[in-house]
Every structure is written in C-alpha cells, then in structure tokens.
C-alpha cells in the first residue's frame, strides 16, 4: 500500500473532526483543507522508503521495558481531586456532568 495523493474533501474534514470531537466552522474549512493537504502531501515522501523487510516488533517501551510488580496499592486521592474540581460531588465521590439522556 502507498500513500496516495489525497483530495481532502469537506466530507473527510467533517468525518475526522467528528472522530476527534472537534468543531470546524464552515468558514474555517477552506484554510484547514489547504493546510492538511500540504502536511499530508509532505508525507508522500514516505512512499520512497523501502520498509518491506522491517517488522514492527520494536518500540521505545520494549527497548527499556520491565513491568513493575503487580501488587495492590492503596490510593486515595478523592480529597485532592475534590479541591481542584468545582463540579465534584464529594458526598457521592462523583464528577457531575451534563445530563446524557434527553427527554
């Protein structure tokens, strides 16, 4: 598979913004399309790199990695959290969010 020259259409912008939970105003779409096209265009150079013999087993974490011992630890940061969050219901230890189910 190779990176194809992309026509970043309005539908792609809307779909990606929806996945990213971001709002893109209609007035911003043109400029955003141009910039994304330029950036993704830059990435087409990656097609030239032969990676057929490269496997993806390596990662930064495996280069370092040792897992810590899996032990149960006491953690009680409820008081700390409640000091820093206005919409924290201390009595029920819950974060208050807007109503999810609409009537």
């Amino acid at each position: 598979m190779a990176i194809k020259e992309l026509d970043i259409g309005i539908d792609v912008i809307h779909k990606t913004a929806s996945l990213a939970k971001l709002k893109v105003a209609d007035s911003e779409i043109g400029q955003l399309q141009n910039k994304l096209k330029k950036i993704l265009g830059l990435c087409q150079i990656m097609n030239e790199c032969d990676t057929n013999s490269i496997s993806l087993v390596d990662s930064q974490v495996t280069l370092i990695g040792q897992l810590r011992e899996d032990v149960v630890d006491k953690s009680n940061i409820t008081d700390h959290l409640s000091q820093h969050f206005d919409q924290f219901n201390g009595a029920r230890a819950l974060f208050e969010v807007p109503k999810v189910i609409e009537e």
Binding site: I3, A20, K21, L22, I39, Q44, E48, C49, L56, K99
Partner: protein, 488 residues
C-alpha cells in the same frame, strides 16, 4: 551576585556562607520583575513560594544537609505538574489548573532543596517550534526581541539566556530543548528516552517525549541530569540502569574520540554562515584530539514526514483526555454530553493543537492507518538502524542543531511546513530514542547558533564530556544578550 552564573559557583558561595539562598532568590526575582515583561519567559512566578523554598534551602545548608541543587533557582516548563503552582501547558484548556501532585522530576528537584520560581512559557501542549502558539502570548528571544526563542521550550531557554534563572527544565519531543537552546545561545540536553521519569509531565507524544536540563554550561546540565535521572515506579518506561555520575568524567581526555559528521546534515538546507561556525568548532575539537569521520544517515529525508505522522497520532490519543469532564476547560454552551466534549475541546484548544489532533485522527482512522501510521513506525525503525550502523563506526555524531538562527516572530506561523522544517536536524534523535544536546557554537548577525552532539543510547557522559571541554576553550556560552537594556 553577577559572578554567580553557574551551579558550582553558587554552591561554593552558599557553602562558604558568602551568600544565602534567599539573597540569590531575591536577585533573580528582581530580574524577573524587571525583564520578564519584555520577553514573557515566565507565565507564572510565585515570589512568596520562591522565598519559602529558598529559606528551606538555607535551613538545609545550616543543618549540613546541602545537596547538589540546594538553593539553585530554576524555571519549570509549564507542562510539569506542580502541586503549589498552576500548570497550563500554554493552553486555555488548562487555565488555572492545579495538580493534586508534583511531577517526579519536580519532586526530585525540590527534595534536593532546589528553588522553583515559576512556570515557563511554551508552545501550547508543546506543539510548536517558536513559542508563538502559547495561549498566554508569545515569548521573545532575549538576543533580539523581534525574533522567536524557538520552541516548544521557548520560555525555558529564554529565561536562562536572559539570566532570569540559573537553569530550567524543558521537554523535547522533536527538538523542543535543542532548537530553543540553539536559538537562545544556551546548552540543552535531551537525554536517552527512559533516562528521566515522565510521570507528571503532560503527555504530547509518549514514545518521543523526554525531559531535560537547560543551562548555560554542559557542567550545569550534568549536575541537574545526575539528580533527575533514574528509575521511577510511576513511569514504566524509565530505565533501571545504574545512573553514572555525569560530572565525574567531564574532564576525561577526549583525545582519540571518533566523531561522525553525517553528510546529509551538511546540505543546502544549512545556512552558509552557520556551516562556517560548525567548521570552526570542528577545528577546536581537533586541537583537543578528536578525530572526525564522514558518515551517512541516509534516511534523514524521511524524518520530518515520519515525525509529523507519529507525533500527531500519539497526540490525538493523549489529548482525548481533555473532554471538559474531569479537568480543564468546560464549555458553558452544552446541553448534551456530546456537545460538552465537542464544545469544550473546540473552545479550549488553539489552532495548531486542533490541526495536529485532526492529522493524528485522520492517520489513525480506518482506511489510512496502514498507509500512514504503520508506514511511519516502520521508517522509525529504519532511522534507528541508520544510527545503530553509525555507532559501530563512531563514538558520537556532530551536526547542526538547526538549519539557521532564530527566525522573526510571525515569519513562519502561517506556514506549518516551514515551521516543521525547523526541526529537521533534531527529530531523528527522538525517533531513535537517543540522547542529544545543543551547545552554543557562535553567532550570526547577533543571533546565537547551536551545535548538536548525538550519542548512542545511555551514553550521555561522552556527549557532555565533549561539550564541557569545548566550553573550556570557547566563550560562546558566556555571552550575554544586551537587547533587554540590562545594565546590572
């Protein structure tokens, strides 16, 4: 106080009772009061807490408990969470955010008796190369306030260059310590991935992010690195390897050391006046016995593209936590949970952050994942292989930190590609997880230029050794900017 510009000088004066930590702290707070408005290097300064930390440092000295960083005033990049000061990441999203805990490296610094004066300006969520994407206003270069200080650790570099702190702690995801260090004429080191804990460091791209010291000298960087490095049970990616004393080997002979010069880094992209400064540095190092060898890092041309896929992909995932629910900005214009997510994120993030989240989301989305993300990960391995091969032939690599000196404020802000290319020489060390540093190498038209050293994994000592000995025979790191009208 003017002669107290390095950590060893301050330590000596403190232990000899020639000066107190409180006096040093007051001196730097006064400079911040006078000059910070011109460069905006600090976005938060706490006079009261600074003096309280300094008093504690004096008490440690009095009790005979002084440690290497006791009484040293620093700035912390505003993405290390601090219990006593707000942490904003340069974003509206985290305006006024108070963390319930200190980042591991902040805690280690404070356990040593270090004096955290405040938080340094930065590009929003560390996404930028000029410090222009900060919600709290851009930071200016102390050498010429019409120019950028670099980024994303722009405030961290500018505060050291302007003598508003002895040192600062920055982070480097694609060059964010080395590029501003180069632009501001200071020394900055990105250690090996896994050397310093990332616990409490707000994540941008977790497989690339690494914290590191920024200071005038390589020796100061070595002293700070000694104290911040090492395993942390809260960060699985920290190494359990024994941390060497980086200061012990600084003066060991570098006679016979073989340093590689990658041909791909000395291309048309490099400014000719900067290339001349590199040649001069090579001549100085030759006098110290260093031998140079031409090498190839053939895949440099893929580095920027690879980075600008991997980093946004990781960012899109990391920044999904900012949803207006648990912390950060919460939109007032929301009737449903979906509205709350979308409006909070759209109002809280700036343009560059949104752009990178969109790129990352796109590259990870169905139909594009293999072409973009997986391909980029494979090229990352190819870049690593280049370095593995190179370090079979040479001990270190020397190259420019940046293609040129600091550009003007506003010059690249509307052209993301031009901005991204400012990182071309620094990105590969992050992709490969290698330690790298920038040291001052001279000036072009009154603006500093940095020389980069790259070492094999966990070989920071050799790099610091070369930089320290280079600084013993040059004085670029001792120069001070005059553009602030600084008479003291």
């Amino acid at each position: 106080m003017e002669h107290l510009k390095t950590i060893p000088a301050i330590q000596q004066a403190l232990l000899a009772k020639q000066v107190s930590s409180v006096e040093i702290a007051k001196f730097y707070l006064d400079r911040i009061d006078r000059f910070n408005k011109k460069i905006n290097a600090f976005t938060h300064v706490d006079h009261e807490k600074t003096l309280a930390y300094a008093k504690h440092a004096d008490w440690m000295i009095q009790q005979g408990h002084a440690k290497p960083l006791t009484g040293i005033p620093v700035g912390m990049k505003d993405l290390f969470v601090t219990k006593d000061m707000p942490t904003t990441c340069g974003s509206r999203m985290l305006k006024g955010y108070m963390s319930p805990f200190n980042a591991t490296l902040v805690q280690r610094f404070m356990d040593d008796g270090g004096v955290v004066m405040g938080k340094n300006n930065m590009d929003e969520f560390a996404m930028g190369s000029s410090n222009e994407t900060s919600y709290y206003g851009h930071c200016a270069n102390p050498w010429n306030t019409e120019h950028v200080p670099g980024g994303s650790s722009g405030g961290s570099a500018a505060c050291v260059a302007a003598d508003l702190a002895i040192a600062s702690i920055g982070t480097d995801t694609g060059g964010s310590i080395r590029q501003p260090a180069s632009f501001c004429g200071i020394t900055g080191i990105k250690p090996t991935y896994g050397r310093i804990s990332r616990y409490g460091m707000v994540a941008f791209a977790s497989s690339l992010d690494q914290a590191g010291p920024m200071a005038r000298t390589a020796e100061d960087c070595a002293i700070i690195l000694n104290r911040l490095s090492g395993f942390d049970r809260n960060d699985l990616t920290t190494s359990r390897m024994q941390v060497p004393d980086f200061t012990k080997t600084l003066n060991d002979s570098i006679d016979g050391l073989v340093v590689g010069l990658p041909e791909e880094y000395f291309s048309d992209q490099l400014d000719s006046a900067c290339a001349k400064l590199i040649d001069d540095a090579i001549e100085e190092l030759k006098k110290l016995g260093v031998r140079f060898k031409s090498i190839h890092l053939e895949n440099l041309k893929y580095a920027v593209a690879t980075y600008y896929i991997i980093a946004p992909c990781e960012a899109s995932s990391n920044l999904s936590r900012f949803d207006g629910v648990r912390y950060g900005h919460r939109s007032k214009q929301a009737d449903t949970l979906q509205d709350l997510y979308i409006n909070s994120r759209s109002e809280g993030f700036g343009d560059e952050v949104k752009r990178r989240i969109l790129i990352g989301t796109f590259a990870l989305s169905s139909g594009y994942y293999d072409d973009y993300y997986q391909k980029a990960q494979k090229i990352r391995q190819v870049v690593r292989n280049d370095y593995l091969k190179a370090f079979r032939e040479v001990d270190l690599i020397l190259c420019p930190s940046t293609p040129g000196t600091a550009f003007k404020i506003g010059e690249c802000i509307d052209d993301p590609i031009a901005m991204y290319l400012a990182d071309i020489f620094t990105i590969t060390a992050n992709l490969a997880g290698l330690p790298a540093m920038s040291m001052p190498g001279g000036f072009v038209n009154g603006l500093p230029f940095g020389i980069q050293l790259v070492a094999d994994r966990f070989c920071e000592s050799q790099m610091l050794q070369v930089a320290h000995q280079f600084q013993k025979v040059t004085d670029w790191h001792q120069r001070h900017p005059v553009s602030l009208g600084d008479k003291s």
